[in-house]
Amino acid sequence: MAAPRYVADPVEDIRTVALDGLCVLYHARSGATHIVAPPVPEILEALREGPAGAAELLRRLERQFEIEGDGIAARLEELEAAGLVRRA
């Protein structure tokens, strides 16, 4: 079975404010507020280039950041559960 691919809502639907190294997000679609740590804002930004699975997402993130590949799939599952990303 192919690995799931995900999309994120456009930037205008998720307000993002950095507070002391953490980020607070307001998700307009659900009306929910989330407090998140890196690399979540970076993942959402990278997904806005288009739908991606964990492997493709890691390649996009590595262009800008030094990042460990372990855990990206798990982060995506958490973000899906929180409603911040969904399956493409």
């Binding site: 507070l19 002391d20 953490l22 607070v24 009306g31 407090i35």
Partner: protein
């Protein structure tokens, strides 16, 4: 209603109607000097009625039912008047206010800038704000701080201060007796006594002030000042707000702006004199 009273508290006009005369007299004495509603129109109405008196104004929320009971020693109608009107005003504000982000916090002002005191019930913010209001600060409110969604300024809501238990005697030492309502003993929160804020709090109730400092006070422990991270402040303030979720993106924008732009600290203190000194010290540093 046979007996009525209407008055303005900050930007909000209340009308209290009662089947009894006694509660209106008691409220009238406590709220002496408050202006009448500017345009004669009231934002919120609290009704005190003899038959099942709670039903009508408690309908929006059953959660508050049982939050207090009436003390046996008090004349029934008078106790109704003070407690029911105060709680009715809180309830209506908490449920009905859409123009401001409502924070469960006390606030005071000095030099055109405001200080927000927030924390759990019993942390001492009412007492501290009441004392600061007698010692060179303007009391803006002891229960709700109103954050303007557009300007980010704090607006006063200088309702009568609700003092509880040990705080009553502490404030009685500094305030003339005519500014107090009757002492109500035997409520589930213990003894309660309401106090009218000082004259400048009433005269300047239309004057907002931008926030300059947020403090999380905690009474009854050794003196300490602790830093609080912005994300934690944000989270605590969402919990301290009664209408953050209802306001959606406007509430998020107002709260993130407040947290980003305003220094904050948690303060522990053993007694109120220590608290006042700590506040003055931190205020000088923030200025």
């Amino acid at each position: 209603m046979r007996h009525r009273l209407a008055f303005q508290v900050g930007p909000v006009a209340f009308r209290i109607g009662s089947a009894w005369r006694a509660p209106i007299d008691a409220l009238g004495a406590l709220y002496a000097g408050y202006p009448e509603p500017e345009d004669g129109i009231c934002d919120f109405t609290v009704r005190l009625e003899p038959e099942q008196p709670w039903r009508r104004w408690l309908r929006p929320s059953v959660a508050i039912r049982g939050d207090y009971m009436l003390p046996d020693a008090m004349p029934m109608a008078l106790a109704h008047g003070l407690l029911a009107a105060e709680m009715g005003m809180n309830l209506q504000m908490a449920l009905g206010q859409k123009r401001y982000l409502l924070l469960h916090a006390a606030s005071v002002e000095k030099g055109g800038r405001s200080l927000i005191l927030t924390g759990e019930s019993g942390a001492g913010k009412s007492t501290l704000a009441a004392l600061l209001g007698e010692r060179g600060w303007r009391l803006m409110g002891d229960e709700f701080a109103l954050l303007d969604l557009a300007s980010g300024a704090l607006h006063p809501f200088p309702r009568a201060v609700s003092l509880k238990n040990g705080a009553i005697a502490v404030v009685e030492r500094e305030v003339i007796p005519t500014r107090f309502g009757p002492r109500l003993d035997g409520t589930p929160k213990g003894a309660i006594r309401h106090m009218r804020p000082a004259a400048d709090a009433l005269q300047r109730m239309g004057e907002g002030a931008p926030p300059a400092l947020i403090l999380f006070p905690r009474f009854g422990v050794a003196e300490e000042v602790r830093p609080v991270g912005q994300a934690e402040i944000f989270m605590r303030l969402t919990q301290a707000s009664t209408n953050y979720v209802a306001l959606g993106a406007a509430g998020f924008d107002a709260l993130t702006r407040l947290v980003s732009e305003t220094p904050a600290a948690a303060i522990d203190y053993p007694d109120t004199d220590a608290a006042v000194a700590l506040v003055e010290d931190l205020w000088r540093q923030a200025a």
